[in-house]
Symmetry: C2
Subunit: 214 residues, 2 copies
DNA sequence: CCGCCCTTGTGTACGATGTCCACATTCGGA
DNA sequence: TCCGAATGTGGACATCGTACACAAGGGCGG
């Protein structure tokens, strides 16, 4: 098998066949270890065993590649959230279930931030624009973006009577603010290097605050 | 006077006299428009009317310069917070005063984020490490860092009976998470470009949530 | 007052990066 | 079969961070 750290040995065919994906894959790995600034065009082409300029047949420029990586990372965030939700023990209590699903959204988000800090930072790094968080390619397995997952969880919360209707509008921004802020603190803020257990506790505290204050 | 956009005309003296500060000043301006990635060594030296390598007599490398800029920006955050606190109408009601001062911390923080997004992003961009938020050079006029200002506001809140003692520990991270998260949303998240008035409202909503949920 | 030396700036150079342009190779359809 | 469009290659350029050797000049001991 082709090593993951050496430049792809070589290619017998002139055409690569799947260069675009290969570049995204390579860039994804660069981002995993090193964040967005580590996504370097020439490094990605090197890894794909291709000349630097070949990249321009598939991406307008470095930013276009970075954006593709960002979307892929965002989709991973969504999948982590979905996985966290899928792991909640089923319950007959509708309200309790809605609440658990809501908390899972935040917990999954924070889990991803800690497990893949480089990719997490890449997901939310869009120079100049980042509305794309709600974009097509940013969706997870269920086809929903992180934002949509959060919105649904809030809707459920409201329908379960755990969130007053007049508090629902804009609630995603309150919740997102708090959780994302903690993620930043944990990744490269003063809370960096916290023991995973403590980090998890901190996350639950923040989610507690949200539930109380939303 | 020397123009602010042209490279410093020239220098008659061989020595610059205050190069270190001149570089920080120039870099600060670069960061103001363009954020941390816009802080480019050669550009700063150009502006100071000096050869690129001269910078290395005052900074170990680009990161050292960036760090200095970051600290300066952090100090500006502190000053903005202090200004916001100074602007609260004096009151006999101790509790109300403590509450107003607490809110001013968040409001000032958010105000700076919106007024100087480039510098704000630079302040909280420390590649690899950012504990420095609590550092010496990051202090404002009163000699306190943003973190210290927040901590004091929380102490006051507790002393005024507005925050249960058992909730005090770690409360700065809850508040900081929420406010910083919103700042990010406002700067380059989905809330970017929000009308200043609406942005202010959003800020007040987040602070409301914090007060309720903390 | 003079000469020395440490500090501060200069010049040149190197490797790396993003990107442009002209050219080569190949695939797929007319 | 042949030809154009798609895909890769090669070479070149500007810019950046930074290393190394050298120059200028200010301050201190004599």
């Amino acid at each position: 098998m082709a090593s993951a750290k050496n430049p792809q040995p070589k290619r017998d065919t002139y055409r690569h066949g799947d260069l675009r994906n290969a570049l995204i894959e390579a860039a994804l790995e660069l981002a995993r270890q090193g964040g967005p600034e580590a996504v370097v065009l020439r490094a990605a082409t090197r890894q794909a065993g291709v000349a630097p300029n070949a990249a321009y047949r598939h991406f307008a420029d470095r930013d276009a590649l970075l954006h593709a990586v960002s979307q892929a990372a965002m989709a991973q965030v969504a999948r982590t959230m979905e996985a966290e939700q899928a792991a909640v023990a089923p319950s007959d209590d509708l309200a309790a279930a809605a609440r658990a699903r809501f908390r899972a959204v935040g917990t999954g988000y924070l889990r991803y931030a800690q497990e893949e800090p480089g990719l997490f930072r890449t997901a939310f790094h869009v120079p100049g624009d980042m509305t794309h968080a709600a974009d097509d390619t940013a969706a997870g397995a269920t086809g929903k973006t992180p934002f949509e997952l959060l919105g649904e969880a809030l809707d459920d919360l409201m329908n379960a009577g755990l969130l007053a209707e007049d508090r629902r509008p804009g609630a995603e921004f309150l919740a997102w603010s708090a959780v994302h802020g903690l993620a930043v603190l944990l990744i490269d803020g003063p809370l960096r290097g916290l023991h995973p257990t403590q980090a998890h506790d901190a996350g639950q505290h923040v989610i507690d605050m949200i539930e109380r204050g939303i």
